[in-house]
């Protein structure tokens, strides 16, 4: 057990530790100017201090709420539209140009516009998250349902299965890994959406923390915001990996 842990993680652990050490040394000895670069130890102190004052909790919870609302709405709509596109050719033909066009567009650039429409509060950020998460979920759901194996459908048909039986017993489970992959893609995109939208204008949130720290040349706090974001992203993606193993164990050996 320990031996396996050592084999799997030792190289990664050493490389991260070495990197942090290198960073610490560079920022203390080479740059030696907290206006340009904060050392890891200073960042940890900043996170600690911000947590004690409740600042970190306030920013984090606002960003989390924005992300959660947008993510859930986008998932529901995305899966729904994906289902619709997979079951109706007409609907798919009608939706496809929008999906392709908007997926390729850097919708994040619309954030200032959304802020203009919806104000500086959370809803403009929610809308940005929706725009960024919606398309990968929709596209993956549709692709997953469309690529359902004809052989499996035919097998079920040979037993006299109805359309809805085929959907629930074959199409849906075989699309599930694709849907989950789309939702996983959405996590990263959603996080970017929240932060960048907050940078454009907000009262609170991790993006706000980052931008006000930058204005004040407070590098430790700026990095504190970035690091918390990174950890949140890693944790959610890892959590999703765990969920995938539970829900679709047949896709991995």
């Amino acid at each position: 057990m320990l031996e396996r842990l050592r084999q799997n993680y030792l190289a990664g652990f050493l490389s991260v530790t070495g990197g942090l050490l290198f960073w610490e040394l560079v920022s203390r000895l080479l740059v030696a100017n907290p206006l340009f670069l904060a050392a890891p130890s200073q960042i940890v102190q900043a996170i600690y201090a911000l947590t004690l004052t409740g600042e970190m909790g306030r920013h984090l919870s606002i960003s989390a709420i924005e992300f959660a609302i947008g993510y859930v709405i986008a998932s529901v709509i995305g899966i729904g539209v994906g289902f619709g596109m997979a079951s109706s050719v007409r609907f798919k033909q009608a939706m496809q140009p929008w999906i392709s066009g908007l997926y390729a567009t850097p919708t994040i650039a619309l954030a200032p516009l959304f802020i203009l429409w919806l104000g500086i509060g959370i809803w403009s950020k929610v809308l940005v998250v929706i725009f960024l998460v919606l398309f990968p979920v929709t596209i993956n759901t549709e692709a997953g349902l469309r690529t359902t194996s004809e052989r499996l459908i035919e097998m079920l048909r040979s037993f006299g299965a109805s359309r809805s039986q085929i959907f629930f017993k074959v199409s849906l489970p075989s699309a599930l890994p694709f849907i989950l992959a789309g939702l996983k893609l959405g996590i990263g995109r959603g996080l970017i959406g929240v932060v960048v939208a907050e940078l454009f204008g907000s009262r609170a949130g991790l993006g706000r923390l980052i931008s006000q720290s930058a204005d004040a040349f407070n590098m430790p706090e700026l990095f504190a915001g970035v690091i918390v974001l990174a950890v949140a992203g890693i944790a959610m993606t890892a959590g999703f990996g765990w969920l995938e193993k539970r829900l679709v164990p047949w896709t991995k050996d």
Binding site: L152, E154, M155, F159, Q165, K169, W250
Partner: protein
């Protein structure tokens, strides 16, 4: 014996291509019938039409005197590729037929359990398809078709993807299982010796267009063991069928390489 299946004038066109022409076959209750022929002779299409997976262009298929319309629980289909659902266990895969019919009470569970035992998969009920060998997956495929207790078993080259040894074992296993229930079987294969070994009757199909060339009675005594394959009588029948389709097979192979 009663007529189980009465097929008359059965024809199929795929667009401009005539796949099958005027097939007339009568199948008795409990008969084991194989269909052989070169690729492109329409033998699989024939089977799929009996299964109701493919509509016919002309002719009729009567089962117990009633015309067939679409797939139904009175016929069990064993697929060439096993078509198992990867997210279901062996038992749950085998239960899909009763489930579709809305009958998965304790009785069906017990029956399916016994069937898995019968096909030699006792103890593997909770395994997933990816954990099984090709031969074992085909056993699940067979148990799944039997689980709905069909009157007729339709088998589409079920052993084609197995290696030679596994295939021979599966052939004897299939006979052993068949002897216990004597269901009516239509078995499509491209292997003449497999057809002769298993069947009461071998339907030899020709191609361009697909049609029934000859129906060969196999009178070898049952129960049969693999040693029968070395009997002169057996070899003679295989030889006879092979001569009949040899030219057709040759031109089929040439077509495929053209």
């Amino acid at each position: 014996m009663a007529r189980k299946l009465e097929i008359s004038g059965l024809g199929k066109w795929f667009g401009e291509l005539e796949a099958l022409r005027a097939i007339d076959v009568a199948v008795e209750q409990g008969e084991f019938i194989s269909v052989v022929g070169p690729s492109g002779c329409g033998k699989t299409t024939f089977l799929r039409m009996v299964a109701g997976l493919e509509p016919s262009t002309s002719g009729t298929i009567l089962m117990d005197g009633q015309p067939l319309a679409g797939p139904g629980g009175n016929r069990g289909f064993v697929f060439q590729n096993d078509s198992l659902l990867p997210w279901r266990t062996v038992l749950s895969n085998a239960l899909i037929g009763p489930e579709v019919a809305g009958q998965v009470a304790a009785k069906e569970r017990q029956r399916t359990h016994d069937l898995l035992q019968l096909v030699g998969l006792g103890g593997f009920e909770s395994y997933y398809p990816r954990q099984l060998s090709g031969g074992m997956r085909q056993r699940v495929n067979l148990a799944r078709a039997l689980a709905i207790d069909p009157d007729v078993l339709l088998m589409d080259e079920p052993f084609a993807s197995l290696d030679a040894q596994t295939r021979e074992i599966m052939q004897t296993e299939l006979l052993r299982i068949w002897e216990q229930g004597r269901k009516t079987v239509l078995f499509v294969t491209h292997q003449i010796d497999e057809a002769v070994f298993l069947s009461d009757r071998v339907l030899v199909f020709a191609r361009r267009p697909g049609r029934l060339q000859e129906s060969v009675e196999i009178t070898l005594p049952r129960p049969r063991s693999l040693t029968v394959k070395r009997a002169p009588e057996f070899v003679a029948i295989v030889d006879h069928i092979w001569k009949m389709i040899e030219d057709d097979v040759r031109s089929a192979v040439l077509d495929e390489h053209a």
